[in-house]
Symmetry: C2
Subunit: 346 residues, 2 copies
């Protein structure tokens, strides 16, 4: 049974290349992969391969060598900004190294064992786990399976982690508000859906509280409003804040997406940002500029690249423990137009 090549002639295989170059298949194989081969034979093989438009069949390579040039990435959901950026960046880095990326969308499985472990083992050489509830377990399962893995934005597993310091980033946002003179600052927090890692949300809350404490401002529990993560949740949280007897002068939204929801509610309510209220977000989402939102940026693309890079390095070492430590990328404040000092009246 051949590949479903109805149209053209059967694609050239390594034997065809070898025959045309008048060498043995193994020499052809070595030449193509850059092994030890005499210059003239290598030359002949490469020429023959080019002429026949030879493309190695990954399935055959994988079957015989055990390595398939494919890495998997497990995400709770595939269509959300953060995950999209991580996946795209990782895919580009991997592709440059000749690897394919297979995306596994987690669905809303609980925090149990990595649901796709069996599949992963049979399909990929290494895996990236992105901010899902099961990252911790997942890392362990994969380790037992002998599959190199790294976590992006998940639990701080140390050497196998890539991410930013969420607590520090949140504190940065709040300090910016403080510096401008705000004293009554509320936080819009997110409730991660099932399957999502909750470490980031916890850390951002902690950063918020810490920055206030440092400034000697007592924590007011009703100043943290928590709603389901996302634009709608941000809107709901803002409505809650609006319904209170006294508006804060500034709001820190855990994520830009929640800030977007808050901004919409404020506009509808006839309030002007930043005149009546300042809003700051976290992430630097692709739409943050369109909303003119001041925010704390994290480079998501760099996280994807770093994760892919770590894996590539480990794969090059034969899958064995990499000497590289985990990567913590910096965040930085991006000032736009949604924040200004509180009005004198306050």
């Amino acid at each position: 049974m051949t590949l479903p090549t109805v149209g053209g002639p059967r694609p050239a295989g390594l034997v065809d290349v070898a025959r045309l170059a008048r060498v043995s298949p193994s020499t052809a194989s070595r030449a193509i992969r850059g092994g030890a081969v005499s210059p003239d034979r290598r030359e002949r093989v490469l020429r023959a391969a080019a002429e026949l438009a030879y493309v190695p069949l990954p399935a055959a390579v994988r079957l015989s060598s055990g390595r398939g040039r494919t890495v998997g990435i497990v995400v709770p959901t595939a269509a959300r900004w953060f995950f999209v950026e991580v996946v795209a960046a990782a895919a580009r880095t991997l592709r440059e190294a000749g690897y394919d990326l297979l995306v596994f969308e987690g669905g809303d499985h609980g925090p149990g064992r990595l649901p796709v472990a069996g599949e992963l083992r049979s399909k990929v050489d290494a895996v990236v786990l992105v901010a899902s509830a099961g990252c911790g377990d997942g890392l362990a399962v994969l380790h037992d399976l002998g599959i190199p893995a790294v976590v992006v934005g998940g639990p701080s597993a140390g050497a196998d982690r890539v991410g930013v310091d969420d607590e520090d980033g949140a504190a940065t946002a709040v300090r910016h508000l403080l510096l401008l003179g705000h004293r009554d600052i509320a936080m819009i927090a997110g409730q991660p859906g099932p399957g999502f890692h909750r470490g980031a949300t916890d850390a951002r809350r902690a950063g918020f509280s810490r920055a206030l404490e440092e400034a000697g401002i007592p924590a007011a529990p009703d100043r943290i409003v928590s709603r389901p993560w996302g634009v709608a949740g941000g809107a709901a949280a803002m409505e809650q804040l609006l319904s209170g007897d006294r508006l804060p002068t500034a709001v820190f939204a855990e994520s830009d997406e929640m800030a977007f929801g808050a901004l919409r509610v404020l506009r509808r309510a006839g309030l002007d940002v930043p005149r009546d209220l300042s809003v700051i977000g976290f992430d630097d989402h692709e739409m943050a500029e369109a909303f003119d939102l001041t925010t704390v940026a994290q480079s998501v693309a760099e996280q994807g690249e770093a994760a892919a890079g770590l894996l590539l390095e480990r794969l090059a070492r034969g899958g064995h423990a990499a000497p590289t430590a985990g990567v913590t990328l910096p965040t930085r404040l991006v000032v736009r137009g949604s924040v200004r000092p509180p009005r004198a009246g306050h």
Copy 2:
């Protein structure tokens, strides 16, 4: 050489299952794939497979059968809303059928031959081509290779296409404005980047012009402002419109993303939407609601599903011509707050 399974015991293979079930490997294979096997033996095989947590190795299946349960999707860029949604929807549909999706990001290759054709042939059983400049050629190349393929949002190749009627959708948007009394309507058009299909932008322009003609409104060439596709382009186009001597009463943006850019510029300029100017978009981007943007919605997810479904059907037929015709999905007007009748003064 075995798979890099350092940790646990070597994963069970078909022979292990066969041995435990006390049948031959071929019988085990048939039983697992639902072939003709006596009930009791099938039972035994299935039980054994479950017990051993047997997972077939895709590379081996592909190598021996020629079919690999993988489809490829080629996109000009992977991180933009439209493509993300198509890919995610296609991936889900395929996954339910046991197929994997491999994403090929086109980069900014010219409109030439499908650049990844050789790779596709060796890696996938079928392919989805999404709105790239090379869709037309690509379809031909793949056809010659004997690989089933469908186009999403690309040239209207008829039977192999999934998409919406862009011209009609644009006309719908403009008629909505017309019905409300607008007579001076401008269009913000996009210039597709290299590698992108330009059919959609052309069709939307045509729909804009047609709707105006139908209403007996003479075409004013300076009322179509074209800028690079995207938020920034939309902003630039709006600035251009603002710099003219007389503002239109309404603007139709070719895509929601361009509308977002226009909205930001308008707000910065101190103009109120919809009081001073109405804005309508096209797409129903995930952020359209947050911008309170009236728009013409297209279901991108359905397009991804439809494409995957068409391919699955064809694959089930052994890759041969499907009797199914192409799919044209409907668009629908989504009314939000960015449009209202023109002010009396105009």
